[in-house]
């Protein structure tokens, strides 16, 4: 791909092509734009660029018009001709396609003004929406590989490690181990034949967490540059990027990026003529959540059964094929070029005394602005949920937030002003984890949440050690019994004993953190467990077995005139009543499936 002379366009359309928007037909919109631009004869002036994930996934498919940073959202193919003519030809931005905050009337044209983006500080996601991930030139234009040049030519390995150490960067995978210290350990670890490896952990098994994916899709080169700098610092000879096979777009883009980097002499032999050799190979994970754990990941790369092994020896000493190995998360590597470029001190200026820099959270669940947010450490939950997240949809009350995915815990509404960093989350019983943040409102049943997350870890347990294999299953059985109203008091104490032992005695991180959802929901929402057990009731009506469905005869007659819709839809013939009469539910037959509640348009069916 020869470097054809770049033409100057007056407008660049940054169309978001992250997985979410792609699944929302982003590519069709791109074609519609190109077709329309050609029709209007603007093909030499307006350039369409597909970028990685822009972050505001709630409002996909998205486009940002540069210059001017105009943000269009929820585009449909139908409106493209009108948009092209109105804005690109006549220069009048189209108001009705702009983002309009739920309460306000006037849309906000400029992206940086929008609440969702305003409070974010982009470090790892600095290039999102600005570059085409499949063109290395775009990355280079954004000061890409400048830090690599600086690291290779002006800095010694010790200086690089020093820079990373003073930056206070800690592992973004979840454990939060100081990166500088880890690099120092791997650098010091002896290796008889000089072989040392670095690994980029892109397994990201947490359900609801997708920041690694969006970094790999939006800005693969920052990861490559980060690994190159790490390799120089540690003296590593080979690098591996371990990506889930369930991220095909990310795999495609990282492979393209690696090829382009090799073609430009930024990877492989004698990089940039400096004599430094380093190459990266992509290894695709087979979809086991446990392979996110470093030793299981190593086993998986080595081709063995993906199961963790006891530590010590830690991978820094004896990792991949027995050689010293440094494993860091995608987001950790993405921060490295910025730290080298702007210095550790600058990075340390962001965040709290113990947790420096920014963290990308995937804000999901009951929130208006679902998407990826990169916020400085120390920001409070309230700011994330209300300022950035745009509050809870449907005016519902905020109840809790689950951070750290299935290994994390639930933080109740009372702690909304909790500043977010490693220590604060751990103290609250949860953990930073990969950065998944699931917002829950009053309609969420905490017992069911605990059951859901536990069913995930139970299913993903590798089964090697007794507590995790047997313990998670036992806890799941108890929780399932409780959500079906068959729970007893002893179950509760056994659940706690199990949770404590599994957390204490499991071999690897998965087992050690699997009980967190249970422990935190027990700590903050013990009353909900009690109501489930003693009163056999689920306040949030989520645990259907505990609901009692009744029909209000008066509403049914007056409003519904006995429309008989519910009876027709009831699979277990539990509803009695002829057309025109008030209907009744026979509780003995009712399997509490909730269909009648859903189909009744008149609200006659009551859930208690």
């Amino acid at each position: 791909m020869a470097v054809e002379k770049e033409k100057l366009y007056r407008i660049h359309l940054m169309v978001c092509a992250g997985t979410a928007c792609v699944s929302n037909r982003a590519f069709e919109i791109k074609e519609a734009l190109e077709k329309e631009i050609k029709r209007q004869g603007l093909e030499n002036e307006v350039k369409v660029v597909t970028t990685g994930c822009n972050g505001f996934c709630e409002r996909g498919p998205l486009m940002v018009v540069q210059p001017g940073n105009i943000f269009y959202q929820m585009l449909t193919v139908k409106e493209i001709p009108y948009l092209v003519e109105e804005h690109f030809l006549k220069g009048r931005p189209v108001k009705k396609l702009m983002y309009q905050p739920p309460e306000e009337k006037t849309p906000i044209p400029v992206l940086s003004e929008i609440q969702f983006f305003k409070k974010q500080v982009l470090v790892a996601l600095r290039n999102r929406g600005l570059i085409d991930p499949e063109k290395i030139e775009d990355y280079i234009a954004q000061d890409g590989y400048k830090s690599l040049v600086k690291a290779l030519t002006q800095m010694t390995p010790e200086e690089i490690i020093h820079e990373v150490t003073i930056s206070g960067l800690r592992g973004r995978g979840g454990a939060g181990f100081p990166t500088g210290l880890k690099w120092q350990l791997v650098r010091n670890a002896p290796s008889p034949d000089g072989e040392k490896y670095i690994v980029c952990n892109g397994d990201e098994g947490d359900p609801g967490a997708y920041m690694d994916r969006s970094i790999l899709e939006a800005d693969p080169h920052t990861v490559i540059e980060g690994m190159l700098i790490g390799a120089k610092a540690i003296g590593a000879t080979k690098g591996f990027i371990y990506v889930r096979n369930e991220y095909p777009l990310a795999v495609k883009r990282i492979l393209i990026a690696i090829d382009q980097a090799r073609d430009y002499g930024l990877l492989g032999h004698d990089i940039l003529g400096t004599g430094f050799n380093f190459d990266i190979r992509v290894v695709r994970g087979a979809g086991a959540f446990v392979c996110g754990e470093e030793t299981a990941l190593i086993a998986s790369i080595e081709g063995r059964l993906g199961e963790p092994r006891p530590r010590p020896p830690y991978p820094a000493e004896k990792g991949l094929w027995g050689k010293p190995t440094c494993i860091n998360n995608v987001e950790t590597w993405a921060n490295i070029p910025v730290i080298i470029d702007r210095g550790g001190k600058w990075f340390a200026s962001i965040g709290t005394p113990t947790s420096k820099g920014t963290k990308v959270f995937s804000l999901v669940g009951k929130i208006n602005n679902t998407g990826l947010v990169e916020v400085p450490m120390g920001i409070t939950l309230r700011e994330i949920i209300y300022d950035i997240g745009g509050g809870i949809p449907g005016g519902k009350k905020f109840k809790a937030v689950q951070t750290g995915g299935p290994s994390g815990g639930c933080i109740p509404a009372e702690k909304i002003d909790l500043p977010i960093d490693y220590e604060s989350l751990t103290e609250a019983g949860s953990m930073m984890g990969s950065g998944g943040m699931v917002v829950m409102d009053e309609d969420t049943c905490m017992v069911d949440v605990a059951r859901y997350f536990l069913s995930f870890t139970q299913d993903e347990s590798c089964g090697k050690c007794t507590p995790c294999r047997e313990g998670t299953k036992a806890m799941l059985d108890i929780l399932t019994r409780i959500t079906e109203g068959k729970g007893t008091e002893e179950d509760l104490s056994l659940l706690e004993e199990l949770a404590y032992t599994v957390k204490e005695t499991s071999l690897c991180g998965l087992g050690k953190t699997a009980p967190n959802p249970v422990l935190t929901t027990l700590r903050y929402f013990r009353d909900e467990y009690i109501t489930h057990i003693r009163d056999k009731k689920c306040p949030a009506h989520v645990c259907r077995q505990l609901n009692v469905y009744t029909i209000d005869p008066q509403i049914c007659l007056e409003k519904g005139h006995g429309c008989d819709v519910c009876r027709r839809n009831c699979a277990s013939e539990a509803i009695i009543g002829a057309k025109g009469e008030a209907h009744k539910i026979d509780q003995s037959k009712c399997i509490k499936c909730g269909v009648c509640y859903e189909v009744c348009n008149f609200g006659a069916v009551k859930v208690d």
Partner: protein
């Protein structure tokens, strides 16, 4: 693709930046607004626009914004363009030709003197430059 040395990398960076600057530039020194209403287009506003673009490209400037807008109302004197230097009143030029456009670009944009010969009027509705 030849393997890059460090110098070539820097050269490439400058090269590409020349076309992608607009993606993140927010402050501009000057703004050229070519009026592309249906009448403007018919009168050849597109050539004027391209002329301006080539001038910028030739000099590799990264602080001049080129935008288009709808018809300015004076269809008889199309093609027209409004040139605005930050902080100064915008000047509307009429009956433009590519040659005139180059002349205006050099004199007005680069040196800041208004080419009164081609100008219709100075100062019109205020546009903000964000």
């Amino acid at each position: 693709m030849p393997k890059l040395t460090i110098e070539e990398l820097e050269k490439l960076r400058e090269e590409v930046r020349k076309t992608t600057f607009i993606r993140e530039q927010t402050q501009f020194r000057a703004k050229i607004n070519v009026h592309m209403g249906t009448c403007g287009l018919a009168a050849g506003a597109r050539n004027i626009l391209n002329a301006f673009l080539r001038e910028i490209e030739k000099r590799g400037l990264t602080d001049v914004l080129v935008t288009t807008s709808g018809c300015a109302g004076l269809c008889s004197r199309e093609p027209m363009a409004t040139i605005e230097i930050a902080g100064q009143a915008p000047v509307k030029y009429v009956d433009l030709t590519e040659k005139k456009a180059q002349e205006i670009f050099e004199k007005h944009i680069l040196n800041g003197e208004i080419v009164t010969a081609y100008a219709l009027g100075i100062g019109s509705e205020k546009t903000d430059l964000t």
